[in-house]
């Protein structure tokens, strides 16, 4: 027996899609392994939803070199004949069918006899803890319940790949957090490949095995959640992943991944180079998260000088704006920490927390 986890469930190579003169996908390639939770992250207009529709077959791409699901070439198959189902952002539940009829629909289409179809549909509903509402009408369900029905309806046919298009977007925060955990558990139980679309970096980091960050129809960066969170390799990735401080400097030396940058005022700082093939002398960004900056003693040998320009209390934390030789910086002090209120003259951070990448 071959190792089933190494089987590529989804292979997309060089897909291009245009709507009129607008290029929604520009030479994108993507693959996912069996049982992998892959998240496509991006803001609206990044092409992530188009990507999902190309995989599901609801959109025929302008061109694609290879499109396989479970090893089967599906490039020319209509959506109905592809072994994948979608959980739509709008849920798209059939309003004229009740809950169990909705869930059993895919099985009915596959000509499963009605006793078996009903049993399978009930099992799928049980999986999302909604078996007690099998006979309800869709209009009688809450948003969270509809979401679960949509999920049950999509997994009941046991597709190779489940596509999820911002399924938690319409739910309130509390419910969303619960559903994130439930979705991951469901995915582990089913061993199914999930391709998950979201604009929320939090969702991407919490749930995924791998994250693909998209912008303007291209893949900007992909990797594990930690890679994206701590090692962004472009201005866009750093901004999207929530880096508050992205400073302009020039790379003046490098030693492996470790880089030394110089700021216009002459200040020199070290950081990790995340973008490969970065030559010394080129203009770069140095980025650092606000919560990774901490206050140092005024006479500490390391770190840089700083002067507080403002403090903004935000409940769980306080954002402190600082003026430094590297430029204006923002640091974040968690509620109750000393830095929240005391005077700050000098700040510092771990070299591993500062990343260096090229200016776009």
């Amino acid at each position: 027996m071959t190792d089933s986890t190494a089987v590529p469930m989804l292979e997309v190579e060089d897909v291009v899609h245009r709507y009129g003169t607008v290029t929604a996908l520009s030479h994108v390639s993507l693959s996912a392994l069996k049982g992998e939770f892959l998240t496509i992250l991006g803001s609206s207009g990044s092409g992530k939803t188009t990507m999902l529709r190309v995989i599901s077959g609801l959109e025929r791409p302008t061109s694609v070199r290879r499109l396989r699901i479970g090893g089967v070439d599906v490039a020319h198959l209509p959506a109905a004949k592809r072994n994948c189902t979608t959980v739509f952002q709008s849920y798209a539940l059939f309003p004229h069918m009740n809950v169990i009829e909705n869930v059993a629909y895919g099985l009915r289409i596959r000509k499963m006899n009605s006793t078996d179809a009903l049993r399978e549909a009930h099992r799928a509903l049980g999986m999302v803890q909604l078996d007690s509402k099998a006979d309800r009408r869709i209009s009688q369900l809450s948003g969270g319940e509809r979401q679960r029905v949509a999920l049950a309806r999509a997994v009941v046919t046991q597709p190779s790949i489940l596509l999820l298009d911002e399924p938690l977007g319409a739910l309130d925060e509390r419910l969303r957090e619960d559903m994130q955990i439930e979705l991951v558990e469901l995915q582990r139980t089913l061993g199914m490949t999930f391709i998950y679309i979201t604009h929320s970096q939090e969702e991407a980091l919490t749930m995924s095995d791998r994250v693909v960050l998209m912008s303007h129809g291209r893949i900007v960066q992909s990797g594990g959640p930690l890679d994206l969170f701590d090692r962004p390799n472009s201005r866009f990735a750093a901004g999207f992943m929530g880096y508050e401080n992205i400073l302009q400097a020039r790379l003046i030396g490098r030693e492996g991944d470790l880089g030394l940058v110089e700021f216009p005022g002459g200040l020199r700082l070290q950081g990790l180079i995340t973008a490969p093939a970065l030559d010394t002398g080129t203009p770069v960004h140095l980025a650092i998260r606000a919560e990774r900056i901490s206050a140092l003693a005024p006479d500490a040998p390391e770190g840089i000088a700083a002067r507080i320009t403002s403090r903004v209390y935000r409940g769980k934390y306080t954002d402190i704006s600082l003026d430094t030789p590297a430029g204006p910086l923002r640091m974040r002090s968690w509620h109750g920490a000393q830095d929240e209120s005391r005077e700050i003259r000098r700040i510092g951070w771990s070299t591993n927390d500062a990343v260096i990448f090229a200016v776009d």
Partner: protein, 277 residues
């Protein structure tokens, strides 16, 4: 006067006066009376001995007996029923096809306007125009088919407007969901789209039927020598005053048969069968 501070206040008073609500209420009631009183009066006159007197009284069923003794109206009624049924069905099918396609066009308004213009073309003009094309230009023998053609042109816009009420509200993401779950285009139509559009489709058929069943103006031009129910009633009423009382009876029967029937159909459609709400 322009500086009179009481002036705007007085106007405000009038704007908030309860009289407007009262006016709306009594106006509405008057409208309802205007609709139903004549119908009730018609029924009362149809069972009166002297209906042409205008005042009900001395009730009898003699005009109904005369009506049933007279077989002349059987053929026109049958013709009207058959034509109206055919037009209703054709309207339902064609309006469904057009109504599904219209919302996805780039400029649906313009196309829709072209389809519904027959609503505003005077019946005389449309009838005369169709007569010229069929009889004078194509030299065809007019008959039931040409009457039906005129009825279709007349009834279709109504059917289309009714279908559009449901097709414009139809959520096309449901079609995508159906395909995504493995349904062919045919299955998606029959399982998802058709049941949701159903009230509109039946409504279109019903309106097609009614518009055809009541049509007179175009039929006059296009009938050749055939008679439909409205033509027959019109000829009878116009030609012989002695026939008017049995037309009252016939009109009453039609009313008492169709009104409950229509109410029933609408109830079935919008209360009993509509699961989408």
């Amino acid at each position: 006067m322009a500086n009179d501070p009481t002036q705007p206040a007085a106007r405000l008073e009038l704007s908030y006066a309860p009289i407007w609500k009262q006016l709306a209420k009594w106006g509405g009631l008057a409208m309802i009376a205007l609709i139903y009183f004549p119908l009730l009066w018609l029924i009362l006159l149809s069972i009166s001995r002297n209906p042409l007197g205008g005042i009900p009284g001395e009730f009898s069923f003699e005009h109904y007996r005369a009506l049933f003794a007279n077989p002349d109206w059987h053929m026109p009624l049958l013709a009207s029923l058959v034509i109206a049924t055919v037009i209703g069905l054709i309207c339902a099918v064609v309006a469904t096809l057009v109504g599904r396609a219209l919302p996805s066009l780039s400029s649906p308004g313009r196309v829709l306007l072209m389809f519904v213009v027959p609503l505003f073309v005077p019946g005389m003009s449309m009838g005369a125009a169709l007569f010229i094309v069929t009889r004078a230009m194509l030299d065809l023998k007019l008959g039931y088919w040409s009457v039906a053609l005129g009825h279709f042109v007349w009834a279709f816009p109504f059917a289309l407007l009714i279908i559009l009420v449901v097709t414009t509200r139809f959520d096309h993401r449901l079609v995508e969901a159906g395909r995504d779950l493995g349904a062919s285009n045919w299955r998606v139509f029959w399982d998802i789209e058709f049941p949701i559009l159903m009230p509109g489709i039946v409504g279109a058929a019903l309106f097609g039927f009614l518009m055809s069943f009541n049509e007179l103006m175009r039929s006059i031009f296009l009938r050749g020598t055939v008679e439909t129910m409205p033509i027959w009633s019109w000829i009878q009423a116009a030609a012989q005053q002695s026939q008017v009382p049995i037309i009252f009876s016939l009109a009453s029967i039609m009313l008492l048969l169709t009104l409950p029937l229509l109410c029933g159909v609408f109830w079935l459609l919008f209360v009993k069968l509509d699961k989408s709400a």
